[in-house]
């Protein structure tokens, strides 16, 4: 194809997105669109399945049967969300095996938030309330994204996520109604998860060079800072209602902008964790790779069984 032809295809492509048409897997698309989507969607999928690890750790230690079934269901949902997203990404021509390879070798990233430990039961509450809360804000914005399979997966995921956040907030609420130690545990979890949750929206707009392109492709409908502001404005009253204090001395309502002003985020910490030096990066990857490698014989056995059944069926039909 000549350069002029590609340019006209690209223009037509951008025009389709501007008209709010969806792009489907077999449609022509610029290479950069394909690559950007593979990167973002696979990272999203990786985040879902790595996100199962900090919570999965607490299933056997949940304080009641009610909490245990809820946590089990939530962790199963995260696995399901990972699967929707992996399948959607595969429509762009990358295999599941390649994506796992990229995750396991560290070539692909996942959300930094999962490199923080869940050390008390209150952390499970804080994860549902804050981490899922932040994820929902990001994901609702993605339901209208231009790539059809991604948008459809997001709609399904958003429907399921609201239970996650509610179960988390309920855990925290119950703790704040408990003994002074339980209340302190809830405050401590908020203290540790607040700032990492704010970092989930990514770098400040000034430091986010890809935002303009992502907005054009509707991979982003709002900027990182806009989404972060939305999260803060919706979460602060939820904390106040149950008597918890947001760990930010600079947090103050700003009447003029109709939102909260907040303190500086420690971006050095953010980049450290992204680069692999967070509290749990190594542990998470070790658990993930071990799960994959220890399951290999099961996957191979299932495949061998299926091949044998096919072979026997063929022989049978020949005998007839």
């Amino acid at each position: 194809m000549s350069e002029a032809q590609i340019k006209s295809l690209e223009e037509e492509f951008e025009a389709r997105i501007a008209r709010d048409e969806k792009i489907e897997p077999k449609d022509w698309m610029p290479e950069k669109y394909r690559k950007t989507h593979i990167r973002q969607m696979s990272q999203h999928a990786h985040s879902e399945i790595i996100g199962m690890l900090p919570e999965g750790n607490w299933i056997t230690r949940a304080p009641s049967l009610r909490r245990k079934v809820a946590l089990l269901a939530k962790v199963q949902d995260e696995g399901g969300h990972g699967l929707y997203l992996y399948s959607a990404t595969e429509t762009l021509g990358i295999s599941r095996g390649e994506m796992f390879e990229q995750l396991h070798t560290g070539k692909a990233k996942y959300s930094s938030i999962f490199n923080y430990p869940a050390i008390t039961w209150a952390d499970i509450g804080a994860i549902g309330w804050l981490v899922d809360g932040a994820a929902i804000i990001n994901q609702v914005a993605l339901c209208g994204t231009s790539f059809g399979p991604y948008a459809r997966a997001m709609v399904r995921i958003c429907k399921e996520e609201s239970f996650h956040q509610r179960q988390g907030y309920e855990i925290i609420l119950k703790l704040t109604e408990g003994t002074p130690e339980q209340k302190a545990m809830a405050q401590d979890a908020l203290n540790r998860f607040w700032w990492p949750a704010l970092m989930m929206f990514g770098p400040r707009d000034d430091d986010s060079p890809n935002t303009a392109q992502s907005m054009k492709w509707k991979l982003k409908r709002k900027t990182n800072d806009e989404l972060r502001q939305q999260f803060i404005d919706q979460t602060v009253p939820q904390a106040e209602l149950i008597g918890l204090t947001i760990p930010d001395p600079d947090l103050k309502w700003n009447d003029e902008k109709g939102g909260y002003d907040y303190g500086d985020i420690d971006w050095d910490e953010f980049w450290q964790v992204v680069k692999g030096h967070g509290p749990c990066n190594k542990e998470r990857m070790k658990a993930r790779v071990a799960a994959w490698e220890n399951g290999e014989w099961v996957r191979d056995a299932a495949m061998a069984y299926s091949e044998k059944q096919n072979f026997l069926r063929k022989q049978e039909s020949r005998a007839v």
Binding site: Q76, A88, G97, E160, A302, Y305
Partner: protein, 94 residues
């Protein structure tokens, strides 16, 4: 790993009276496992009463690049639509 499990497409009937609709895809070693995985992945909240799975490689798909030849002929056959026919205003419902 020796071989990746093949890809399957999942179709779910959400309730009797409605058609099966494409829900997504998944990997499984054989058809029975594909059905079980489809139940776990796509119907955790009563989304369906019936599931079909078919290995993706058996689906023949049209190519969007040929959409012109493929779908255009229908557009110039306006006589296939009721509005093509002129009737007197007195005829209200037809």
């Amino acid at each position: 790993m020796k071989k990746e499990w093949p890809l399957w497409e999942v179709f779910v009937r959400s309730k009797n009276g409605l058609e099966h609709r494409h829900f997504g895809s998944l990997h499984a070693a054989d058809a029975e496992m594909a059905l079980e995985n489809a139940r776990d992945v796509y119907t955790r909240r009563n989304e369906g009463v019936s599931i079909w799975v078919v290995e993706s490689k058996h689906i023949m798909a049209s190519n969007p690049e040929n959409n012109g030849e493929m779908f255009e002929p229908a557009q110039d056959k306006v006589y296939r639509h009721p509005t093509f026919y002129n009737l007197p205003d007195e005829i209200k419902h037809m």
